[in-house]
Amino acid sequence: MLSRKGIFSQKYSLYWMMAPLFIYLAAFYLYPLIYSVYIGFYEWSLGDATKTFVGFRNYVSAFQDSQFTGSFLNTAIFVIAAVGIELTLGLSLALLLNRESWPMRILRTVILLPTLITPLVVALTWKALLNPDIGALTYYIRAVGIDIGRGIFVERGLAMAGIVLIDVWQWTSLITIILLAGLKGMPIEPYEAAYVDGASRWQAFRYITLPLLRPTILIALVVRTLDAMKIFDSVFAITGGGPGTATTTMNFHIFKVGIQHLKVGAASAMSNIFLLFSVLIGLFIIRSVFLSARRKGGAV
């Protein structure tokens, strides 16, 4: 095992194998993040020759900026609504598709379709479908007598629901696929025992399926929550954050300030707040779900 000596020996190979990744991450991930903390203290627009040190003023302004605090709230509403609906629908669909027959196998392939389509394409498709005047879906919605006012993405109270709908369309299948994999590994004995004891279908679901599926549901929830927080494409392509600021999410707002208006200092302060928040959620989730699963020798 230790035939070769020197720098490539067992002891150092540990570092050699990991070094490229960590050098890369240090340069293009860690350095930008640290730099972001630094410019968060400056008033600086990309293109300005000088940066002006302003201390915590960018942070104070961020919290005073109703668009920023509003975007935080919008993101929270979006994530809770989208992931909540996706989880409910995804679980029902998984239970429906959980049998071995050829139509079910085909359906399990068909439902993969939305997850593969470029999110921007999805956004533009729905934008056309829900066009207030000539959208095909708008036509059908009005035909069955549902009042959507001047159109889903035009009405202040409906625009966010539209963004949620698109996310539900694209990602419910992901949850279904994850849960189907979990259902496949379920033992049959508890059900046998339960039905011998005269349990009802609902009781079997409530007291056997749900608890056994819990770890899988948790992981599906985590994966979707982390991704839903990144919502950007549909907001950018469909509503531009509007009407008013009804669909301005954090990602979108910071993008607007930092990339479109080039106010890098202010945008960095906001993204540092966003980052801190995401890291806390992420750490909490990873600690409670992934690492505990590793320790138990289960899934990662």
Binding site: F8, Y29, P32, L96, L97, L112, F205, K230
Partner: protein, 283 residues
């Protein structure tokens, strides 16, 4: 088994039965397929048919939209740019991620769990948070507007995903094979290259597939870091989406072109795609 009374009961463990089930499934399938069918059919419609209400599902198909976009739009350039960025990202992500994952899976050392946690944490990183300083950095090194800039930022997420996937994959492989194959001595790197890597091929396919999909579908990074000559397909598509929806026929034909490669690859590699999606969900 399924015909016995107990078997009949067991089927109830799965939700619903008969008509009701079929109806619910049908509604869901229509919901999931309707937008895609609209998209693809519209790309074969004459402009006059697009604006018909009620929507026309049966119509005289035409190739004119595709001819137009190939004729008048730099779609080959956009496709090539998308391809360069996704393939570049995939290669870089695997080169960086796989060896690191092997070490993280096989060796014990101090700080290992901290390293794994911080790599997992990248998944929680909002793209815009890294994008703002990254753009400043690219600006100062003169890489803004190049494929390289997009590849470098896409790789952050894709290398992290690769590590995450491959650590799990290597850990699940019995270490005995590697030990047995190397009784008479071979280096750590050779064990990795000659024994572990070939055994891990299915995992590598999954990692590569996801890296391709994620970078092909990226919009925000390409939007913020490319210039017109390096623009990717999503950016090209967006530019054809006119305010008054005049461009719908062109937009949908370009969308159809953009989604086709991934659909074909994923259908062909369905097993690996599902494995990647469910990865983490099950043992």
């Amino acid at each position: 088994m399924m015909s016995s009374p107990l078997g009949q009961h067991l089927r109830w463990a799965k939700l619903g039965s008969g008509m009701m089930r079929t109806i619910i499934i049908a509604v869901l399938v229509v919901f999931l397929l309707f937008p895609v069918i609209w998209l693809v059919t519209t790309s074969f419609k004459e402009r006059i048919d697009v604006f018909q209400l009620p929507p026309q599902w049966i119509f005289q198909p035409t190739m004119s939209n595709f001819e137009y976009v190939f004729d008048k739009k730099p779609i080959e350039m956009w496709t090539l740019n998308s391809l360069i960025i996704s393939v570049g990202t995939t290669i870089l992500s695997l080169l960086l991620g796989v060896p690191a994952a092997y070490t993280l899976a096989r060796r014990k050392f101090r700080g290992k769990s901290l390293l794994i946690t911080s790599i997992l944490l990248i998944r929680a990183l909002p793209p815009v948070v890294i994008l703002i300083p990254f753009r400043v950095l690219m600006n100062s090194v003169g890489l803004i507007g190049t494929h390289t800039a997009v590849i470098l930022i896409d790789t952050i997420y894709n290398a992290a995903f690769t590590v995450w996937l491959m650590v799990g994959y290597f850990e699940a492989m019995p270490v005995e094979i590697e030990e047995a194959a190397c009784v008479d001595g071979c280096s750590y790197f050779r064990t990795f290259r000659a024994i572990a890597l070939p055994l891990a091929t299915p995992g590598l396919v999954t990692a590569a597939l996801f890296s391709l999909i994620l970078s092909w579908n990226d919009f925000l990074f390409a939007l913020s870091l490319t210039s017109p000559p390096s623009a990717t397909l999503p950016l090209g598509i967006l530019s054809t989406f006119g305010m008054l929806s005049v461009g719908w026929t062109y937009m949908t034909s370009m969308c159809t072109i953009a989604i086709l490669p991934l659909l074909l690859i994923a259908l062909f590699l369905q097993k690996y795609y599902v494995q990647g999606l469910t990865f983490g969900g099950v043992k």
